[in-house]
């Protein structure tokens, strides 16, 4: 992570455009309420120049509301937004500096592709020739030079979205806002276009915020992800940080898949799940405290078939967190096997584990068999649980 995230309110009066290390976009104590409903609750966030940020969260979490506040389309109730050192908190949309792309493309249907891209360039003192050359340059950038004279309805969804992107960057905005730009597209086009957008963003170096509810998209594209839920920011971090070290149970659950078990902290470094003790980091937890223990299916390591089932359930915790489990179900998902295991030591709960095709073959894992699996101690995460 190149730039430290700041959640402390920062002094906002100083002009900081000259300071390259200063955040480009700075959101401080932002609230948005619709009547009694609070859509955004005390949001603070700093974004560095050139960063690609994803707002990720389930629908209704406030991510689009936050984007629209930055755009000046839906004014926040309270809070300040600084862009390049300029206080834009209450500026109308037309006085801010950004380009925007919507899920619906919002291309003007009665204008040709060229006219659409030129829409923001005309009326700005540029000569006709300058506009035309900029338009053809942009068409080339998005790889649609042959389609300039067509109307939007004659292009595919992916092509239309590229035109919308070209139109948004035509005026060389300081900030590019993407509101679920890929959600309306087919899966294949979506994957293809997400690489293109990312490459274009790198090339232009434009600070970009993308709203999405697709975690894969966010993980693949973002420099940093802002995970949101119920109008608050749950976590901000790089894709690997978010995935490997989710700070809240919500983030752990929302990104990737999880097994969740009710747990209780026995002493430092040891928790009780079901009837047995397991080793894991317990920083911040007191002995006796109730918690939720989380482990991802992919993190569970198979250690092979066990000749004789070890059914003792009161074994002390070992550093390896080894348990015996019976394979109840196996589901072939192409890249891996999803298995459902039951282990006496975990109580009656099912443990979902994803094993590679190789591992399954090598260890002869099959339905009905008993295997030994390891829950790596550094991959067993604890979250507070309200009793």
């Amino acid at each position: 992570m190149r730039h430290a995230l700041s959640i402390e309110p920062t002094p906002t009066s100083l002009p900081r455009a000259a300071d390259p290390a200063a955040p480009y976009l700075e959101i401080t104590d932002l609230w948005k309420a619709y009547g009694d409903f609070v859509a955004l609750r005390d949001i603070s966030l700093s974004i560095a120049r050139g960063e690609f940020i994803c707002f990720l969260g389930p629908s209704g979490c406030g991510k689009t509301t936050l984007l629209r506040a930055v755009a000046g389309l839906d004014l926040q109730s309270q809070g300040t937004i600084l862009q390049g050192g300029r206080n834009i908190s209450t500026l109308p949309a037309s006085s801010r500096d950004y380009g925007i792309v919507f899920q619906s493309y919002a291309l003007f249907p009665n204008l040709t592709i060229e006219q659409n891209i030129a829409f923001g360039l005309e009326n700005t003192g540029r000569s006709k020739a300058a506009v035309a050359s900029r338009v053809s340059e942009l068409l080339e950038t998005v790889g649609l030079s042959a389609h300039g004279k067509k109307y939007p309805a004659q292009l595919s969804g992916g092509q239309q979205q590229r035109i919308a992107l070209a139109r948004a960057i035509a005026i060389s905005p300081g900030l590019l806002l993407l509101d679920e730009p890929l959600s309306a597209l087919d899966a294949k086009v979506r994957v293809h276009l997400r690489h293109e957008i990312k490459a274009l963003q790198r090339k232009l170096g434009v600070t970009t915020i993308m709203v999405t509810h697709d975690q894969e998209e966010a993980l693949a594209m973002a420099d940093r992800i802002v995970v949101m839920n119920h109008g608050i920011i749950e976590q901000v971090g790089s894709p690997t940080e978010i995935y490997r070290y989710p700070e809240t149970l919500f983030v752990a659950d929302f990104i990737g898949e999880t097994n969740q078990f009710p747990a209780r902290v026995v002493r430092g470094g040891e928790v009780e799940i079901g009837h047995s003790a397991f080793c894991c980091a317990t920083d911040g937890f007191a002995a006796g405290q109730a918690a939720t223990a989380v482990v991802r299916p992919v993190d569970i390591i198979p250690h092979g078939a066990h000749a004789h089932a070890v059914n003792a359930i009161d074994r002390p915790a070992t550093p390896q967190n080894l348990i015996d489990a019976e394979v109840r179900e196996m589901e072939f998902l192409g890249m891996f096997w999803r298995t459902r295991l039951t282990a006496p030591r975990l109580g009656e709960r099912t443990l979902v584990a994803d094993f590679s095709v190789n591992a399954v073959r090598r260890l002869s894992i099959e339905t009905g068999g008993v295997i030994q699996v390891e829950i790596p101690r550094e991959r067993l995460l604890l979250y507070p649980r309200s009793a």
Binding site: A106, P109, N110, R167, L177, I233
Partner: protein, 671 residues
């Protein structure tokens, strides 16, 4: 940085931020204020004045005036007496005559039987309170101070009535049997016409959507013809067909066409297209999968009809019923021509106002007429909202399969109804060009020599065209700009809501009521807008307002189909809203705008109800001329003028189709 929910956050207190207004916002706000003001002046204020008029009664309050009379020297004054006491002594004015209207005047000398204007006696007059008013000549005097006049001047003193607010006018109305009977008559006629029209319309729409009968396009065209003629025209046709000299008079078995029979037949004629189009739309959205499901469950044809077809169209049917009911109960032209002595509410307004100059009673009838219209409107709006919820994006359009047993009766029925419509029009056409139906059938153009008849002559026809063109032009501009503000301006939520409400209101206001409200509002010398009274301007304003709602909804529908983010994109590209408006919004919505224009044109040509109160000698209109010539007994010229309106509307429709095709080819290449 997990921000846990339970962290103590200050509640969202203090003032919410306000966005700095951009130049666009200010322009939009200005526009909205202008168009909102237009609707307030053209609709809200006149209706309010009318309502207050219906609640106002005027009466001379004799206890409010005191007199003193001098002796022959003019210097020694007698005792102070009230006008009331004087009146009781002299018995000059009967109790009933004290009720009057807003223009009432009562000469003060009436209370002094011995009054002579050459006597040396002087008179003093004053009010007992500040409101008692009287005129001396044309000078208004008020108040409790004594005023002294010599007998020559006192002759010119007249008392003015006091205005009280109350329901007295309404109780008067209901105690007049002939007037109260009109309510029953109107409701009865509207109810019968509704049942008949909706049944016919449903059968026709069913045939067009669920059978494979031939000539569907032709029937659809014929069925919309009645929209192009004034509602008076079917009345005239009926007079020719079944009237005293009618060729088919015997068909009525001795009953007279003048009255309920004529009203129902004529109402069916002019309301049929409205009901037909609504039900056709409702039936068109049928989902084929429902029919497939019914067939796979082995439901009989009749059961399918009852459980799939009718419920699917039920909101359309209810909506059509309310539209027809409102049209019939508020229509004035048809019962005027064919109603004979059969009293109807809308005609009552006309008679009270034009015949008896009783404006307060006209206002009372108007308010009564507003009740069913507003009710029908409210129910209809609820229905429309539910209808929308019925539509599903994944519906599969239903395609009927040929079936002689269904197709043949549908075709026969459509032929029959078409014959009825074409027959009525043909009758007027024949009446217009023959010398004397049915006795002398030689062709003539004398019926078109309008300048020789009362009613306004060819100038009236010219005025109508002018009115229709101005209404179409001015109306489409105002309506589209207004709808744009409602739909696309952000912020000003309250203003936009109010504006939308005002725009929806004209649908519930009958034309007669609007016309009368305009008299009250604009024909008041104290109103700064009084100069437009009696001009073409007021006719245009009135007609645009009268037909505002349908046009507004058309514009709104077109605007709603546009991506709501266009405005956001334009703002992010720093383009002013008017550039987006003219380069994108207007071109994309052009078909809807042209539809609004032709709708306003056709209605401006045919409307009678609102404008009948508002035309002046130099702004007579063709539709009113039809009415007046018919009234004067010149029925053939009335039919001829009615046909002129019909030709004009047909021509306008053709030109509209041509323009639409030409313009669309240029501006809608993307479609």
């Amino acid at each position: 940085m997990a921000i846990a929910l339970e962290t103590a956050h200050p509640p969202l207190a203090g003032k919410h931020l306000r966005q700095q207004t951009s130049r666009d916002d200010r322009i939009k706000l200005g526009f909205m204020a202008v168009i909102g003001l237009y609707l307030v002046i053209a609709l809200g204020a006149p209706l309010f004045v009318m309502l207050s008029k219906s609640l106002s009664t005027y009466r001379f309050d004799l206890t409010a005036y005191e007199f003193q009379v001098s002796d022959g020297t003019g210097a020694n004054w007698g005792p102070v007496v009230t006008a009331d006491a004087l009146n009781r002594q002299a018995g000059a004015v009967a109790e009933a005559d004290l009720s009057t209207n807003s223009d009432g005047r009562l000469a003060a000398t009436k209370f002094f039987p011995e009054f002579s204007f050459r006597s040396p006696v002087n008179y003093r007059i004053r009010g007992v309170d500040e409101d008692a008013a009287f005129l001396v000549g044309s000078t208004l005097e008020k108040g409790t101070a004594w005023r002294e006049y010599d007998s020559g001047t006192f002759r010119r003193v007249v008392l003015r009535p006091a205005r009280t607010i109350g329901l007295e006018n309404f109780s008067n109305y209901f105690s007049t049997p002939a007037l109260a009977q009109s309510i029953y008559n109107s409701v009865l006629m509207a109810a019968i016409s509704t049942v008949v029209t909706v049944s016919i319309a449903f059968a026709l729409a069913y045939g067009l959507t669920r059978s494979c009968m031939p000539l569907k396009g032709l029937f659809r065209g014929i069925l919309t013809i009645p929209i192009l003629v004034p509602s008076l025209l079917p009345g005239i046709a009926l007079v020719y067909l079944f009237g005293n000299q009618g060729v088919f008079k015997d068909w009525l078995l001795g009953y007279s066409i003048y009255g309920p029979i004529g009203i129902v037949i004529g109402s069916v004629f002019f309301t049929l297209p409205h009901a037909f189009l609504i039900i056709l739309t409702a039936l068109s959205v049928a989902d084929a999968r429902h029919y497939e499901a019914a067939a796979s469950l082995k439901a009989s044809k009749w059961r399918t009809f009852r459980t799939v077809t009718v419920p699917g169209a039920r909101y359309g049917i209810v909506s059509a019923a309310f539209v027809v009911f409102t049209l019939v109960i508020t229509d004035f032209g048809l019962p005027k021509v064919i109603g004979g002595q059969y009293g109807m509410l809308a005609v009552d307004i006309y008679k009270q106002v034009i015949g008896q100059q009783n404006f307060e009673m006209g206002a009372v009838v108007s308010v009564i007429l507003l009740v069913p219209a507003v009710l029908a409107f409210a129910v209809d709006r609820r229905m429309q909202k539910r209808q929308v919820a019925l539509l599903s994006a994944r519906a599969v359009p239903y395609a009927p399969k040929p079936n002689v047993r269904v197709d043949a009766p549908c075709f026969a029925f459509a032929c029959l109804v078409s014959l009825f419509i074409l027959g009525m029009i043909a009758m007027c056409q024949v009446a217009a060009v023959v010398k004397f139906w049915p006795y002398d059938l030689t062709l003539t153009t004398k019926n078109f020599a309008f300048d020789l008849m009362d009613g306004g002559g060819w100038a009236a026809y010219g005025n109508s065209i002018r009115l229709a063109l101005l209404t179409a032009l001015f109306g489409s501009l105002v309506v589209f700009a207004g709808a744009y503000m409602v739909e696309k301006a952000d912020g000003f939520r309250f203003g936009r809501g109010l504006f939308h409400f005002l725009a929806m209101m004209p649908m519930a206001v009958p034309g007669m009521v609007l016309g009368l409200a305009y008299i009250f509002f604009f024909n008041n010398p104290a109103n700064p807008l009084n100069p437009i009274y009696g001009t073409m301007t007021i006719l245009v304003v009135c007609t645009v307002t009268h037909f505002y709602t349908v046009a507004h909804l058309t514009a709104l529908t077109a605007l709603k189909q546009m991506d709501p983010e266009f405005e956001s994109v334009a703002a992010s590209l720093k383009q002013p809203f008017h550039r987006l408006f003219f380069r994108v919004t207007v071109p994309v919505c052009l078909p809807a705008i042209l539809n609004i224009a032709i709708y306003l044109f056709v209605n401006a040509m045919t409307t009678v109800s609102a404008v009948v109160f508002l035309y002046a000698t130099d702004t007579k209109l063709a539709s009113v001329a039809v009415l007046n010539m018919d009234d004067a007994g010149d029925i053939a010229p009335a039919a001829a003028m009615g046909m002129m309106i019909f030709y004009t509307n047909v021509a306008a429709k053709l030109i509209h189709a041509l323009i639409a095709r030409g313009l669309l080819a240029r501006t809608q290449a993307w479609r």
